[in-house]
Symmetry: C2
Subunit: 333 residues, 2 copies
């Protein structure tokens, strides 16, 4: 029986499953970050191969029982070609050349079998795409923490820390976020002035923030949702909602009809953020069909079968959804 | 005749002068960055000692002809003590222990002999201070590029790049800043879509931005002032003005009367930014006395004499102002 490989490679982990043409996932593997931009192609390829081998072992399959495969990957727009991944598979004795698709397409396919529609992901970063004919047709934002990713976990977390410290600095309105940020960092709200007259609590907070990597500011994003009624926090959430709606508006077209698939930890766990998104769809004449999905691996499995010429029906999709958790559990992951 | 050392140590350069009690600067030296936080204490001390030696040589003086000295330095609030600098002077055979003052105090003294007043610096960063009794009494902002420095060169430059790329991305209004940012980076405005549908001009811009250090975004700040009438650029300038006014408001008190000394490349070269500042002073009952100063070295000279017990009169101040450029010219700097 032919088997197919599906991989969802992200910044923090890579996950692989091996499945049959009816959508039955028979093996599962996981490894470290597989984003070829942030981790580098070599390390990303190593992670993807490692997750693949683990999935094969779990399914008690030999590498040559794989027919083909698909890998959903972030950052592929800035990596040319796929030799870096194909070479790693060849070296590992796995006789397939995985087709690389953008991770956004895998997210979309996790939520819909349609060939047209939209996907938006907000985790540490934020991006919206239009899908047309089973391919990414347009993109908005995803420009990274320094100049884009508006409404993302990083963006919200940075606004939270800005507002919390501005209040302690006497420049911004009082907000419950100040106490929460200090608590998150384990810092006392010590009002004793340092030699410039800056409260020690603020000075120690600033020092702690600059010892983090910038993207780590995403860890403060949940605080914005932890103080309902706080006007400063509410304003941050409103701006994030508006930024996400703007990104979606930039890709929505009346002629491209389909659901909006939502992914990423921030968008999936903070449904507040999606409040203005249905209106963007209905303004374009589309149904307000929003579907959050936990990850892109089921979609990568759909793409893997489709790439191999298998007609992926609702029944096949249901079989992927039912068998993937079992394969994961069997792998102890 | 006793001589005194004055140093202005900044992130990109350290400058030193040797002067007599009547304010005559007889030597001048310059060296690399002397900010103990960004360059590290060891490298900062080496730079300050190097500039000092050069100033002594130019004045044809031996180290033991120095009586005392003052160094104006950024970042001193996060460095404890002055042993790191005193030790470097001892090792170099210069028998003084320079007194370290915040660079903001030196900027203030460059513009005023008053013991009370205000200083605001906006270069790559932005900070406002209240001076009372010749000491820094309160501070606002100066929290760095990641969470503060609102209205600074970095802040403006980041907004410029955000707006320029958002326009190319279809998320923001059209602006002349897009063409200027691409031109600054030497990138063609190529509309050809990449595999995600993103125009190549935008994609190449994003790649180029992430090859810079974040603080290098300050180089795009002048673009905001280069397109008068552009609504997006005007809005960025308005927000910067407002942020700077908010920082000044946080430190101004009716009881502390004195001028506002302005420093830093952005504030000195873009007088537009200071538009709302006079109102902040008059709202507190103060005269709208704003004085831009080119740098903190004349002020460090004032502080050096004052620290040595010399009464710094307007005549002494004028002598510093007249002789410092001569000493600098004699040093070929």
């Amino acid at each position: 029986m032919p088997h197919f490989l599906a991989v969802d490679a992200g910044g923090t982990s890579s996950r692989a499953t091996v499945l049959t043409a009816d959508g039955t996932c028979v093996g599962y593997g996981t490894a470290g970050g597989g984003n070829p931009v942030s981790a580098g192609p070599e390390q990303a390829a190593t992670a993807v191969v490692s997750a693949t081998k683990q999935a094969l072992r779990g399914a008690d399959l030999q590498p040559d029982q794989l027919i083909s495969g698909v890998a959903g990957m972030a950052g592929v727009s800035v990596i040319t070609g796929d030799d870096w991944l194909a070479g790693a598979f060849r070296s590992a004795g796995i006789p397939i050349r995985p087709v690389i698709h953008p991770d956004l397409l895998a997210i979309f396919a996790s939520g819909s079998l349609s060939l047209d529609g939209y996907a938006m992901v907000a985790g540490t970063g934020a991006i919206a795409v239009r899908v047309r004919g089973g391919r990414i047709d347009a993109v908005a934002d995803g420009l990274g923490w320094l100049i884009g990713d508006e409404g993302s976990g990083f963006w919200i977390g940075q606004q939270v820390v800005r507002a919390a410290t501005a209040a302690l600095d006497g420049r911004g309105p009082q907000t419950a976020l100040s106490a929460l940020v200090l608590q998150e960092l384990g810092i006392d709200d010590d009002p004793t002035p340092d030699n410039l007259g800056r409260p020690l609590g603020l000075r120690n907070t600033v020092d702690a923030i600059y010892h983090l990597r910038p993207v780590d500011l995403a860890r403060f994003a949940p605080l914005a949702f932890a103080v309902p009624g706080d006007r400063v926090a509410t304003s941050i959430i409103r701006h994030a909602q508006s930024a996400l709606a703007t990104s979606l508006t930039a890709v929505v077209q009346p002629a491209v009809v389909g659901p909006l698939i939502l992914g990423g930890s921030v968008l999936v766990h903070q449904p507040d953020l999606t409040t203005p998104l249905p209106q963007v769809l209905t303004d374009a004449g589309h149904p307000a069909d929003l579907r959050p999905v936990p990850d892109g691996l089921p979609g990568a499995a759909v793409l893997a079968l489709r790439e191999a010429g298998v007609a992926v029906t609702a029944q096949v999709q249901a079989q992927i959804a039912a068998s993937l958790p079992q394969a994961r559990a069997a792998a102890g992951a």
